[in-house]
């Protein structure tokens, strides 16, 4: 039997815009995943701690303040420092397209901009998990 996909939806940085994060969290839950939402103002350290503690398959980062180039790569770095390489990390928010190659080079698997349907995010997760779902 397949286990459920576990996702941490996280808001790094100081911005308070979490309409998108909450909509995604609920859509993933409705798609049968187990979802934890961190709430606002999480440091990369807090996010990585929560991800390891909750044993998640996926970290979905959301940011709208423009601090993505600083905060997203930090999450991946910290995971590496902790020896974790099988968590899928991707992000969304108001992120200029020209920043995407840099973020991908830092290990962010994908960036979803404004207007992305939740169904696309769900497909992406299912297709790109790094851990097996069969127990």
């Amino acid at each position: 039997m397949e286990r459920k996909i576990r996702v941490l939806v996280a808001k790094p940085g100081l911005d308070g815009h979490d309409r998108g994060a909450k909509v995604i969290a609920r859509a993933l839950r409705d798609a049968g995943m187990e979802v934890i939402y961190t709430g606002l103002r999480q440091t990369p350290e807090q996010i990585v701690n929560a991800a390891i503690q909750e044993d998640v398959d996926v970290i979905a980062l959301s940011i709208l303040s423009g601090a993505h180039n600083h905060l997203f790569p930090r999450v991946v770095e910290l995971l590496k420092e902790r020896g974790v390489d099988d968590i899928l990390v991707f992000g969304g928010g108001v992120i200029p397209e020209e920043d995407i190659p840099f973020l991908k080079s830092k290990g962010i698997a994908e960036i979803f901009g404004p207007g992305t349907p939740t169904s696309k995010t769900i497909e992406f997760i299912r297709a790109n998990l790094k851990r097996p779902l069969d127990r």
Partner: protein, 555 residues
């Protein structure tokens, strides 16, 4: 005189005829709904307004219940204030943008602060890393504020500051900058947002728990009523509630519920309602559904007027008036085909003007992508100017009044908002309803519904889920210089070395003392600001004394 019997007969015959024709040639949709999912009838007639009472429901412009507007002549007397929210990078850069906007014919300033400033952290705080100067200007001390308003005479402009949890500190800085320009506090015009409840609900830049936050707010009410009489001491905001996904009705209801909570807190603090209520102001969103939005503004004015007069017994007509700023809806803008956003903003701005706004910010076409460029901001400002000078809509007061549809929508929004207000009263008021997560949950449900409607194609967003094209990534977006953070840090350490640190220490100690007691906090905050204590230092003292808000996280 309308013969209602005859009209009723005619209407039912007509309806039968149309329904029959409908079987062959059905309407475009089974059900028509507003932008907020409220059902819309095929047509509105006097039958929808049978109990219409002009005097009770509308009244004359500038008179109770202000449905038609708060001024007797509205835009014939003076156009709304065109006020673009702006600020980024350092105080120098923002100061240049303000001067540019004033040269372009903007009539009021609106300051955007960066997130560390809004949350009471200095630029060198670890949590500020990556955020300094990004979504607004970085202000760490009075020194930055002096630069921000350099060469801008504060007795000549009105300034709105989007600042909430640390509003007292930024207001104190503004007052002291004015003093240094030789402008006394009673000559100052402007607004601080200062609305913490909607931060808990939707915007997220809270610091302290509700109780001390309400104290900071009522201390400002009291201080300004005596010292800064023309200052709008709060801007009770539905804008962010709507951006978070609320419907038009929820926007009105939750905003007014917050308003009621502030009035009650001030009365509990011993203030007389007519002493502070004339300086309460509001801030609403304007969405795409033109008629529903116009009706929303009208309904909000009417509901508030009755609340202030009947519930709180206010006697001063100024206490009854709901004056408001409007911003077009950022959340409706698309990253796809961004030029289309100019049209969306035009419709939304028109709704705000037809709804009688006192001031207006029009969003720029590139805001789903980045902070707006100078060119994009100019088009947004020109949109307002075209509405004001070319469209003719500003030449008479409340031109849509008496439309069967508009009045029916106004009545419906009023009725449904009152139901919400009753429920929130039953829960113990807005603060309790927020602590229980009730308001947040209602908004999240609406946001999710909207997203699902869009994904199912039940709601068409041009360029997003219909009429898409292949696009190249947009060029020439505004980028904030990443070195801003370093520059602010250097400026801070120079300031800390240069200022009289004994004065700072004693000012902060006196602030701590006042925080522990019940005296007005504005006085020690003003002293601390004058001594060049930083925003972060002042907020840190208050954090230690008041603690921090712990949100109820859910989705």
């Amino acid at each position: 005189m309308t013969d209602f019997n005859k009209l009723e007969q005619d209407f039912s015959l007509w309806n039968a005829k149309v329904e029959k024709a409908n079987e062959k040639h059905p309407e475009r949709k089974k059900q028509f709904v507003t932008g907020s999912n409220a059902p819309i009838n095929r047509v509105y007639t006097p039958l929808d307004q049978k109990d219409f009472d002009y005097v009770k429901q509308l009244g004359l412009p500038g008179e109770f219940p202000f449905t038609r507007g708060v001024q007797p002549t509205m835009y014939r007397g003076r156009l709304w204030t065109m006020r673009q929210y702006a600020g980024f990078g350092t105080a120098e850069e923002s100061n240049k943008r303000y001067k540019y906007l004033l040269e372009q014919g903007q009539t009021g300033l609106s300051v955007a602060f960066d997130l560390p400033t809004q949350i009471g952290y200095d630029s060198d705080h670890p949590l500020s890393e990556g955020e300094v100067g990004k979504v607004g200007v970085a202000i760490d001390s009075l020194e930055d504020m002096e630069v921000l308003f350099d060469g801008i005479p504060l007795d000549k402009v009105s300034t709105s500051m989007t600042i909430n949890a640390p509003a007292s500190v930024l207001l104190a800085m503004y007052i002291v900058v004015a003093e240094k320009q030789g402008v006394s506090a009673e000559k100052l015009n402007g607004t601080i947002q200062n609305d913490i409840l909607k931060e808990y609900i939707a915007r997220g830049t809270y610091i302290f728990p509700p109780e001390p936050s309400m104290r900071l707010i009522t201390d400002i009410f009291e201080y300004c009523s005596k010292n800064v009489p023309n200052w709008n001491t709060i801007s009770i905001s539905g804008y962010h509630i709507r951006e978070a996904g609320a419907t038009a009705v929820q926007e009105v209801a939750f905003t007014l519920a917050d308003g009621i909570a502030y009035v009650e807190a001030a009365i509990r603090a011993g203030l007389d309602v007519d002493e502070f209520a004339p300086r309460l102001s509001f801030f609403f969103n304007s969405h795409n559904d033109l008629f529903e939005e116009v009706a929303k503004f009208r309904a909000a004015r009417r509901v508030w007027a009755y609340i202030m007069r009947e519930r709180f017994g206010a006697k001063n007509p100024k206490s009854w008036m709901l004056r408001f700023h409007t911003q077009t809806a950022g959340s409706t803008l698309t990253a796809q085909q961004p030029d289309n956003n100019i049209i969306r903003v035009t419709i939304q701005a028109l709704a705000a003007v037809l709804g009688g706004t006192q001031s207006l910010h029009t969003n720029s076409r590139d805001e789903a992508l980045a902070l707006p460029t100078e060119e994009a901001v100019r088009i947004a400002l020109r949109t307002q100017q075209i509405i004001a000078y070319e469209s003719g809509v500003a030449e008479t007061v409340d031109p849509l009044a008496g439309s069967y549809y508009i009045e029916s929508l106004t009545d419906r929004i009023e009725k449904e908002a009152l139901q919400y207000l009753k429920h929130i009263d039953d829960l113990g008021g807005a603060v309790k309803a927020i602590e229980q997560g009730y308001i947040q949950k209602e908004i999240q449900d609406s946001a999710y519904q909207w997203q699902m409607d869009v994904e199912k194609g039940e709601r068409i967003i041009v360029g997003l889920n219909k009429f898409q094209i292949e696009e190249k990534p947009p060029k020439g977006l505004l980028r904030v210089d990443p070195a801003v953070g370093e520059r602010q840090k250097e400026r801070l350490s120079a300031l800390r070395a240069r200022r009289n640190n004994n004065m700072v220490i004693s000012a902060l100690a006196s602030l701590r003392n006042t925080a522990r007691g019940t005296e007005n906090l504005m006085f020690p905050i003003l002293d601390a600001v004058r001594a060049y204590a930083t925003l972060g230092e002042i907020c840190e003292v208050l954090r230690e004394e008041f603690g921090e808000y712990q949100p109820n996280v859910m989705f």
